[in-house]
Structures are given as C-alpha cells and as structure tokens.
Amino acid sequence: MAGSFAAYVDDRPADKVFRVDRAIYLDDAVFAAEIANIFEATWQFVCHESQIPNHGDYFANHLGRQPIFVMRQQDGGIGGFVNACAHRGALLTPMKQGNAKTLTCRFHGWTYGSDGHCIRIKNEETGYDPARFRRTDYDLTRLPRVEAYRGFVFACLNPAAPALVEFLGEAARFLEFIAHQSADGMEVLPGSSTYVINGNWKLQSENAVDGYHVSTVHRVFGATVARREERPGYDGMMRTESGRIAGKVENGCYDLGGGHMVIWADRSPPDTSPLFEQKDRLERDYGAAKARWMLGRGRNLIVFPSLMINDFAATQIRTFRPIAADRTEVTIYCLAPRGESKSARYARLRKFEDFFLVSGMATADDVMALEDSQTGSRGRTARWGEFHRGLDSVVHGPDAAARDGKFNPVTSNNTWDQETLYHGFYRRWKALMTTEAIGAKEAAE
C-alpha cells in the first residue's frame, strides 16, 4: 500500500522533470498515511521555551491527531505527556497554556504531579482492591521524546527517532540565526492568532518558502506600504522593504536536506530591521559573515514538515496542524529578542500586524490564493503540479553565500523564484510515505 504513494512524486531531474500529483492535497488515504508516517513519527515543534519558563508551566498542542502537553519540571527540564487522563481519557489542561503544580482531571478528579505521576485517585479505597491496585500503574503516558534546540521545543512519538539536532541538520544553523538575536534569549510576545485554511497542509509548507509569489500576490502590499512611506511616522525601522517585495534585491533558496527549506533576500536596506540596533554586538560576537545572515538578509525557514520561522519585516513562529486533507489550522506568534529597545519592539509588532495576520494586508491574500490552489487541484483531469523551475541554474552543494554562513545545503539556487528547494521537501515526504516500518527507518538514518 505504502509503495503506491511513490508515483505521486515524479522526480526525474535528468529529464528536467519534477512534479507532484495533486492527489497528495486531496486524498484521504494520503492524509491518513501522513499522520502516521510523518506527524506521529518525526519530530514536531511544540512551543518556544519562553512560553513555559517556570515549574508547572504547561503548553498544550497536538502531534498529528494526538493531544499532548509539555510541562516545565521542578529540575528545569521539560516533560511531555499525552493530554489524556489515565482513567477515562479526558483532556487534562483546561487551557492551551497555563501553570499548575498538579493537574486534576475535571471529570472524575484524578490528580497528577507535574512529573506525570498519579498522586491522588478520588475515593480510591472504596473502588479498588488495595492488595492488587497500584496507583503508579496510572501515571500519565509520557511522550517518547522531548528535546529543545536553542529554545525551540520539539516532541516525537517515535522512540527510535534520531536526536533532535540530527533531525534538524542544516536547519539548526537557521534556528541559531534567530536564537542569537539577543544575548538574553528570545521571547514569544503576548497575543497570537489562529486561523483555519481550507487547504492541505503541504500547500502551507510550500507557500511559506515560495519567493516566486511575492511579486504578484504581495505587489499590492508593496504598493500600499510604498505609498504610506511618503507620510510622516514611517521612517527608520518603521519602513517596510517595498524593494524586496518587488524582487529588486539579491535573493535565493536552499534545499537544506531532510525536507527542510529556506528562502532568503537581502534587506533593502538593513537598517529597516528592528535588529539593526544590535549590529555592533552581532558583528563582534559572531563575526561579519554570520551577522550578515542574521541582519542583512531576511529568511523564511521551513523545518519539515510544518514549522515556519520567518525573519523578514518581523520575526514569526508559524505552526500548522493538519485537520483533514483539505483543512489546516495555523497558529502564529511574534518572537522577539529579549531586552530590545522600545522603538524596535514597537516597529517589530507593527510590521508583524501589517503583513502576517489574516486580518493583515498580506497573509490574508496568501490564504485565499492557497485555498484556490486546493480548489483547482480538484480538477483531477489536470493531474500534475509543476516544481521544475530553476533546474538549469541549480547548484549542488553550497553557493558562496552558504559558505559564508557556514551551512551546507543539498542544493542552492540563484533566486527565490526557483522551485528546486521543494525537491528536498518532496523527496523526504516520499521517503517517509513509502516506509512501512517508520521506527526502523528513522533509527537507520
């Protein structure tokens, strides 16, 4: 059965062909296999460490279809648990995010410590035989793997998965470009937004690193902010880079391997960035080349399958959760360097609001374009989605900019209009979707 999904990725670079069957956005069998082989088998982003700073802080999320939560432990570590009472399965966290030294199930009152141990069962003595009943048999089910890298907390239901840092591979370098923006660490700012797209989750992964759409879908955003910048109050960091949106700067894209992808573009100019106030520190601590990547270039990163880290006009964490083949729930947060100046924080938030929300002036347009792609894909008489743009200019291995940044992509390409970065994404997808014994495969990698 799993082998049948292989034909959905038509990967023949020698013939200048790379295309995917649009059934991958539509088919319920594909979706079910993705949940099992990808979302419930590989590392998934759960939250940022700043969202659970203190003992008892919890954050609820999903791995595939499974509700889970992570909780800050007394020793400072992070515990991860299936979000279900050991008794009858009711959710344990009343909120998405909160603090509790113990969690008491609101259904029948069973209580768990922050380490997941069952510490109290209501009326235990009248219902269970003390000679045979052991409360410790009813601890919460731990997630097999929870690890953090540079503040980004991930979990995995596959006990045989490689270490998180191995899974991240070259994408780890791009998480560093974010994490090092403050000597005091990064923080998620108050407020978030969740929206539901009538579209397959992979369309969101594609869109997140699609440089090619920027100069069409976001042309109106560029025109709007260019017009605005003629008014007072929109100078300095409050400027948005309309030149970048028009594609008039150096840019490019990388297949980072492991399904991870990134696009980048020069900032036009760098002093529009709220991070610019830290230029001297970044150059001193990290050297000119890394500072250039952190400050001089904006980046959109996809960590396979469904975490986007955007650092263009502002810094964003975007995660998306597959609900059905044609439904995806997206949640976004603004991430910011701790201790940045008041004016930098202000500019970061305002630029985030301008662009990124479905109530903003750009993401709303992305979402509707993405939904149209879902609808158009139902025209099954037209079978293929094309991804071969840029096959003539693709560079195997790093280009000069990648060597400067000390990362080693599988391929590099000369503009962010190219589509060769998706080849790594869909090769990874195909490998996972055609593997029966997922645990064994991950262990072998």
């Binding site: 978030s192 937004s193 947060y333 479905v358 109530s359």
Partner: protein, 165 residues
C-alpha cells in the same frame, strides 16, 4: 448626561451610519467619520479568556494609529489587486446595545455590540464584535477618535478585514 436622549440618538445614528457605509462599500465616506488622529484597534487574544491590552507592546489583529492607516487598508481593498478582496465578501452589520457611557466636554465614550453576517467564497459566517468608541466633537460634528473592536472569534475562518468587523 447619560439620560440625554438627543446625544443617545446622535451616537446611535453615527454608529449605524458607520456600519451602513461599510456594508454599502462607501469606504471614502466611512473614512470621513474618523478624526485625523483616529486610532483603530482590534486586540488579539492572549488566552481563552483575555485579549491583549497594551497595543504598543503586545500583538493586535489590527492597530492603526491615524486615519492614514485606515486609508491604507481601503487603498488595498479598492486596488482590485488584493487576492482576498476580489471578489469582496458581502456583509450586513447589525448594531445594538448602544450605550453612552461617559461625556466630558467634547469627548463622548460609548459602547455597542455588533453582529456581522458575511457571505463570500467561504459561504456565510456570522460573527460578533464588541465596540468601544471614543468620539470627539469638532466644529459641531461628532467624529470617531478611537474605535476598539473585540472580535470574539479567535479561530478565524478566512480573511478578516475592516468590513468584517
């Protein structure tokens, strides 16, 4: 002042006019109802029970600091180049519970509720908003100096623009 029927009628008429202009796509006249320094603020939700409450240092769904910011939104909608705005959703605003809360010289504070039914590519949706207004009287005319909208949905279906709110 809270029993001033004339003021109650004036405020109610202004809010009804504002939403009528949105529903009928008379955006230029809608903008004219705001003062030059008007603030248009839609906070984000920070938890299941609380919105953000400091627009300067926290995330908002929309935070426009002057009438120019409102004009930007309309420029994009009317450009016919915004994917989410072509075709434009149809909307019906139903305003109720208008209460004048405070009057201080030229400044009037009022609250209202609004149900907005919209219809478009995603079908029909009916969503609710809480309105907090600050009006300012200039040259005899009451204008909107600040409008805060708490949009009670926090799992949004499709684009949310000023005419949905």
């Amino acid at each position: 002042m809270r029993n001033d029927i004339g003021l109650q009628t004036e405020v109610t008429n202004l809010i009804c006019r504002e939403t009528m202009l949105l529903d009928r796509r008379r955006f230029d006249e809608w903008i004219e109802l705001f003062t030059e320094d008007a603030v248009y603020w839609v906070p984000a939700w920070r938890s299941e029970e609380q919105t953000t409450d400091d627009p300067e240092t926290q995330l908002n769904l929309i935070y426009l600091r002057d009438r120019g910011g409102i004009e930007d939104r309309i420029f994009r909608i009317e450009s016919r180049d915004s994917y989410a705005s072509v075709p434009l959703d149809r909307t019906v605003h139903l305003v109720g519970n208008v209460l004048v809360e405070k009057v201080e010289g030229d400044r009037v504070e009022a609250t209202a509720n609004c149900l907005v039914h919209s219809y478009g590519k995603k079908g029909g949706q009916t969503r609710g908003s809480l309105y907090d207004y600050i009006f300012r009287r200039t040259d005899g005319t009451l204008k909107i100096a600040r409008k805060k909208i708490v949009f009670i949905d926090d799992r949004l279906e499709g684009a949310v623009d000023v005419y949905h709110l």
